[in-house]
């Protein structure tokens, strides 16, 4: 058997998804020898941004239509997500200085679907007072609730107004401010970005922290709390792969892993690809690189990628927007997310808008689940639908030296995925990653 690449490594990482690329980047910064492989000829795995050729190939959709524009102008995300401007992914980008390789632009608008209408999520207190989302008295209650959340500090009892958020549920907290159920729904789904209503009967602290992240992110750039990399999300794993490479990591795209090799104790000791083998102390990867008995299915997510020749109607003709359809508004448990980006973020040719509708599957008919989202888009030039089964590892990896990430979740942002990433990092290294960096105070680092 020949040596695969240099033959001997500390870690072999499989799949160039965001989580895997962050891990290989962090490991090689710490001096580990890393081999990173991917079966595809592009970076990003499940969260790649594809050009037209690769997109049409993935969906067996024949040749791209001529009226779409040049292949190279397109960077179509397979998993639609935006980045919270002051969330954990931003902290991680700053922590690793991967921001040096990327440019970000804010998302112009954030909308919520209510009573058959698309309404702007207020970005300022003045907007909140003008918003048709609430009646006059409700607006005042909403305002005092937001003031409470803004001042709330877990470690400062004076800011608690006598409420113990570790015990009090979110529903009780809303009620204590006299907020109406419609407003609960709007705050929880469009601002805390909860996917369903389970959080209402849990201690309020976690949800309040989500709201703080939202408000803090919103105040940073104005019109929406989200930022997005120019040229698509695929730039994120690419940036971390460069971090890994400049610290000595070896990258092999277009090389599938045929087999993970184990010792007698069932611990992974390397991988085979063709007639070559590389050894390592452990392997890391996304669920698709591991045998079925090491992962369990956790659900299904439907994602619909649509090409439009116009912005999404009724959202101010913006170049980039997010619309959240709270599940209860359309008789569903799970929210439907609609996002649209365009040439202003360099993900499509001029005049073409990419709209992606996604939600957790509740039944078996994918097309039916996304109807309320598709209905908002107007004329659709072309649509690609995929149903992805999500997986999570069945064990923490200590016994078999197989450290497996979970699939990307159904949310419209990366906060949950970063939690998984931090857990993966801790399982692999035995240490917590220092994430105390503040998005506002890093300039001094440079």
């Amino acid at each position: 058997m020949e040596a695969l690449a240099d033959g001997e490594y500390d870690a072999i990482v499989m799949g160039t998804g965001l989580k895997e690329c962050v891990i290989s980047g962090l490991l090689s910064v710490q001096g580990m020898r890393v081999l990173h492989m991917d079966r595809n000829n592009y970076y990003g795995a499940d969260c790649a941004s594809l050009n037209l050729t690769n997109l049409y190939e993935k969906f067996n959709a024949g040749k791209p239509a001529d009226n779409l524009g040049a292949n190279r102008d397109f960077n179509v995300d397979l998993i639609p997500k935006f980045i919270m401007a002051c969330g954990n992914l931003t902290k991680m980008l700053l922590h690793t200085k991967v921001t040096r390789y990327l440019e970000f632009k804010s998302i112009e608008g954030s909308y919520v679907y209510k009573g058959g209408k698309i309404l702007k999520v207020p970005a300022t207190p003045e907007e909140a007072l003008r918003s048709p989302l609430m009646g006059l008295f409700e607006k005042r209650r909403f305002r005092s609730f937001l003031l409470f959340v803004d001042r709330y500090d877990e470690n400062d009892a004076e800011t608690h107004q006598g409420k113990n958020l570790k015990v009090m549920t979110m529903r009780e907290l809303y009620d204590s401010f006299g907020l109406q159920p419609d407003t609960h729904q709007f705050i929880s789904h469009a601002m805390c970005l909860e996917l369903d209503d389970v959080h209402l009967d849990k201690p309020a602290l976690a949800t309040v922290k989500e709201l703080q992240t939202y408000c803090y992110s919103l105040s940073r750039y104005g019109t929406s709390p989200y930022i997005y990399p120019v040229y698509g999300l695929g730039g994120l794993p690419e940036g971390f792969s460069r971090l890994c490479a400049i610290h000595g990591g070896t990258f092999m795209l277009n090389h599938d892993v045929d087999e993970i090799v184990y010792n007698d104790q069932g611990e992974a000791i390397g991988v085979k690809s063709g007639n070559a083998m590389a050894r390592a102390k452990f392997v890391v990867g996304d669920p698709s690189y591991f045998p079925k008995n090491k992962v369990r299915a956790t659900g299904q997510i439907v994602r619909c990628i649509c090409f439009l020749n116009h912005p999404i109607p009724n959202c101010g003709d913006l170049e980039s927007v997010q619309i959240i359809i709270p599940g209860p508004q359309v008789n569903r448990k799970n929210d439907i997310f609609v996002c649209s980006i365009s040439s202003s973020h360099a993900v499509s040719a001029k005049g073409i808008y990419i709209a992606i509708v996604s939600t957790k599957m509740e039944g078996n008919d994918a097309d039916k689940e996304v109807i309320p989202g598709l209905a908002l888009l107007g004329h659709i030039m072309q649509r690609f639908t995929m149903v992805a089964t999500t997986y999570a590892p069945v064990s923490d990896g200590h016994d078999d030296k197989c450290y497996i990430s979970s699939s990307f979740d159904a949310s419209s942002h990366f906060e949950g995925d970063v939690e998984d990433l931090l857990s993966l990092y801790k399982r692999v290294t035995g240490k917590d990653l220092d994430m105390t960096i503040n998005a506002d105070s890093v300039e001094a680092d440079y």
Partner: protein, 202 residues
């Protein structure tokens, strides 16, 4: 006018161990190591070239080894105003490689990218005097020159020991770059404004 500074991204391309890092370290730090370690540690390096009408500041990206299995990310090519493609005159495969890097660059990079093709000697396994190197030459200078001319590419054979020549290469590239299109200098966390106003070079 002489105080205006224009920023350009420049990428290095070429097969493994042809002297890419040696070239850039020579230019940026004016240092020379006969056996340059494979690229480790730097995100990118910067160096300026002063021309009569402007100062050109290069942001130089090295492949960081991702060329070894042809695994360079699209990000690498994106926004590059110039590229230096390095080959080794004692290794004909590296010249064939250089031609395929030119194709890859034309496919992935910006359409107006300025390309230079360079062969570097007097470092690593190409150490030794010029006569000795000529006896091991496998890539004909005229053939390489003709290819470069055909494709509108700058072409140069240069010694890693001779910093003047290396600098001359970057000056040539700097002169070829359109100074009207300015690339912004990278900030710590460059968030672009919603609608960017076009800024002039000055």
């Amino acid at each position: 006018m002489s105080n205006r500074v224009c920023h350009f991204k420049l990428v290095l391309l070429g097969d493994t161990a042809v002297g890419k890092s040696c070239l850039v370290v020579r230019f940026v730090r004016d240092e020379f190591f006969e056996f340059q370690e494979p690229t480790i540690g730097a995100a990118f390096l910067t160096q300026t070239v002063a021309l009569d009408d402007a100062t050109v500041k290069f942001e130089i990206w090295d492949t960081a080894g991702q060329e070894r299995y042809r695994s360079l990310a699209p990000m690498y090519y994106r926004g590059a105003a110039a590229a230096i493609i390095v080959y080794d005159i004692t290794n004909p495969d590296s010249f064939a490689g250089a031609k395929s890097w030119v194709k890859e660059l034309q496919r992935r990079g910006d359409t107006n990218v300025v390309i230079a093709m360079v062969s570097l000697w007097e470092f690593g396994k190409n150490a030794g005097n010029k006569a000795d190197l000529e006896s091991r030459r496998k890539v004909d200078f005229n053939e390489a020159n003709a290819y470069a001319e055909e494709n509108g590419i700058l072409h140069m054979e240069t010694s890693a020991k001779n910093s003047n020549n290396v600098r001359a290469l970057f000056v040539e590239i700097a002169k070829s770059l359109p100074k009207t299109i300015q690339q912004p200098e990278r900030e710590a966390f460059p968030i672009m404004p919603q609608k960017q106003e076009s800024r002039n070079c000055c």
